[in-house]
Symmetry: C2
Subunit: 211 residues, 2 copies
């Protein structure tokens, strides 16, 4: 599973943007629309609730044979046997997480500078998420990464690079032109009325750039 | 380590009650005063910060040869090789946690009813924390457990029972008279100016009840 991961259309969840819809159904619609990997991000909820949501989403991602990544919480990743974990700069240190997660799980690390990107690679990351490439309201603490820096990071690191932050239908081409392996999207899919179509349309824009 | 744990004076941390003092020093003072086991409870902080605090407290509890328990977060417990984990009713299910934690680590479970207490025992808990036995401002969602129910739970379950919730110098004897194996304390130690003395004075009150 771990090799040849398709990072091209990377969905990150956020229950705050889906209104009163069910997150499990929303993720399934996004899978129908063609997202290639899913990350569950839950902040400010109980461990029990996170665990229950993650177990249900895992059933759906397994059905569509798409890898499921857990944001921040190694305990949840282990408990539901997720395909991987994604950590940010305010989460557990990458090398500690890699040791607990084992060599076979996907480990992603957020980076906003060249230094963070190279350190993540050194410390055992399988891919890095670089952003925010465009201004975003999803993550209050997001630092902005220029498209030039994104391009340079992609040139320097050997592991896959996923661009994240404010990516939508209008700017996705700019992000992809930097040569990244994928783009991570939240609102541009999950806030839409027709989630499957939103994913499909992003995927269409992305096709010409896919090697 | 796991057998013959001394639960008698069980310190639960809360950085909100220590003012501008350092949590590591406060825990060390409590250990000097005689607390027999320490649980780190952190809510609303980053994983990285929780991890950093826990690593430093582990050095101190190791120095005093006192077990260190992590509240809720199995990831932190595994990462710092804590002596155990304590889960509440809104955390990960007990049997899931036991499997990930392994048989050798201490697993504590919060219970506020006889049913929860018996289920915790069945699901693999090593001890239960029962409360809140007195009204408390530390945990907003705390349900009240009468001293009669506490006494009955202690009679019914075979694993150690620790009373928690609003226990202080004035009411500690009432809690101990129920036959519990220990009392858990937050503010009655950590909010005091002289933390070591506060722990010592609680321990003195507790001596006549110690088997
Ligand atoms: Ni003893």
């Amino acid at each position: 599973m771990k090799n040849n991961i398709d990072y091209s259309l990377y969905l990150v969840t956020d229950r705050e943007v889906i209104g009163n819809r069910n997150i499990i159904s929303c993720v399934e619609e996004a899978l129908i629309g063609g997202v290639t990997i899913v990350q569950i991000r839950e902040k400010n909820t109980s461990t029990k609730n996170f665990y229950n949501i993650a177990i249900k989403i895992k059933e759906v991602t397994d059905k569509y044979k798409v890898p499921l990544i857990i944001n921040d919480r190694l305990d949840i990743a282990l408990a539901i046997n997720a395909d991987g974990l994604h950590v940010g700069q305010s989460d557990m240190p990458t090398e500690v997480v890699r040791q607990l997660l084992g060599p076979d799980k996907i480990l992603g690390v957020s980076a906003a500078t060249m230094e963070e990107a190279l350190k993540a690679q050194r410390d055992g990351a399988d891919y890095i998420g670089v952003g925010a490439v465009f201004p975003t309201s999803n993550k209050n603490d997001a630092r902005i990464v220029s498209l030039d820096l994104l391009r340079n990071i992609k040139k320097e690191v050997k592991i896959p690079v996923v661009a994240i932050g404010g990516i939508n239908q209008r700017n996705i081409v700019k992000a992809m032109e930097t040569g990244v392996d994928g783009v991570a999207v939240i609102s541009a899919i999950l806030s839409k009325e027709n989630i499957a179509d939103a994913a499909r349309n992003l995927k269409k824009k992305w096709q010409p750039y896919h090697l």
